[in-house]
Symmetry: C2
């Protein structure tokens, strides 16, 4: 999906919501456990209910790998279901991969060719040759970790070099030297770090930012929009637990739809 | 596997070789492609041939994920085969994962409980809560990226903070504050950075180091031993392509065994 297509979906649906599919057998409604494929059954119900209110889905690979082979099969089935039934949804494989060049090349094949994701999250620690193999697939995106939403982000991401530049800024700057631009690269910036968005926008004014951390992790949508929005929105804001686990009865999908709609309506007000 | 068990295997087999199972359908001998499961057939032959000369296997997850669901099935089958037939082998899931706490918890379940690996490689960019969920599984190990063997390592890992400490040293130091110690944590240090091992040994004198990059990537075993070995060996040196792809005829496994034996014999001389 191109940047223009993504922005056009955002305008049409008045939403820049991404629903995080962190599907965990221990957390889904109990009645689904008797289904043949409970993970897929849950995802299908969540997707059918929330699709009108969001423009992206972000399955987190850990949750599927954590369920073993069956989990990974359910993930493939889920992506295929979204691709077939909701072709305007942007699909992010939240995998946080990154390895030496020949290995990152294999990961790119895995996520873009086998799994048919639009985008994959990539960790920057190993530098240029761990990231560039994900670039250059037309219509596919790298989403590079810059400033994450978790507490551990403080450990390394803010470390300043001798010129006072923090590591996350060095990551942004280097990525631009590697061929990353607003049409093939986005950045993860946690909603819990909203005040840093002004600083980040100076380096990557046009790029989309994938913002996790609203809802369960406590970030504020208003702050994210205030500091992070650009003229073409430039934001994909993710919510996982606060939507998909809002209810654990047989009404879980209807409640998820309501929660997604609430966020979408708040987003619509910021898009005006 | 405990550190003592690992060291005892090293002494008994006079080897600290890890064979990297970077199994790629495009590179395995052509005659295997007619097998029902070519990836597993290749791995089984390589493992049977090289097991006497190594103490660990390191499947790189990218290569299996890159082959889609079938590839992942072949990986599970491979690990099960090693577990059953060569229970003294240390199995490293080279996955370079790392995510927010609840997600890293899922990955730990995936690699330790589902896949039955002994160890998993973890990227440090997201800090403490992305790493600690992998600790505390008795007999299981985190192998944290410190200084990698690729060219991109230069981009961030050497960046010095205002006190002159490079990022990879900050990673080592922080990991010790998180509860990492020589019995539950190892570090990736590329053989192509052998001269840095002296510096690394000052911070983690007793820890095992997983050293990729000899063979195809050009690192020297002699240098790695000179700068990195400690009184209990403290090294697991990986070779992938130079062993498993040394020959592409029907003799590939026999040639892999010879190549592994050559490395083992060189290692035996350094262990004296």
């Amino acid at each position: 999906m191109t940047r223009d297509e993504l922005y056009s979906n955002i305008k049409r649906k008045k939403s820049f919501l991404c629903v995080g599919l962190d599907t965990d057998l221990k957390k889904i409604p109990e009645h689904l456990l008797k289904e043949e494929d409970p993970i897929f059954a849950f995802n299908k119900a969540i997707v059918d209910a929330t699709a009108p209110y969001c423009i992206a889905y972000k399955p987190n690979l850990a949750f599927y790998e954590g369920a073993g082979l069956k989990g990974i099969q359910a993930l493939y089935k889920t992506i295929d279901y979204i691709r077939t039934n909701y072709p305007d949804q942007f699909i992010i494989a939240d995998a946080k991969r990154g390895d030496i060049g020949n290995t990152s090349m294999m990961y790119a094949g895995s996520f873009f060719d086998e799994m048919k994701a639009d985008a994959v999250t990539v960790a920057p620690y190993m530098g240029q040759d761990s990231v560039t193999p994900f670039l250059g697939h037309e219509g596919n995106w790298v989403i590079l970790l810059a400033l994450t939403s978790n507490k551990g982000a403080d450990d390394f991401q803010y470390i300043k070099d001798s010129e006072g530049t923090p590591l996350y800024q060095n990551v942004l700057r280097k990525s631009l030297e590697w061929g990353g631009n607003a049409d093939n690269m986005m950045y993860v910036v946690g909603a819990t770090r909203a005040e840093m968005l002004t600083d980040i926008r100076r380096t990557v004014p046009d790029s989309f930012l994938l913002v996790p951390g609203i809802g369960a992790q406590g970030g504020s949508l208003a702050d994210v929009c205030k500091y992070g929005m650009n003229s073409k929105c430039g934001l994909i804001v993710n919510s996982s637990r606060a939507i998909i686990y809002a209810d654990k009865t047989e009404s879980f999908a209807a409640v998820a739809a309501l929660k997604a709609q609430e966020v979408q309506q708040e987003m619509a007000s910021f898009l005006k």
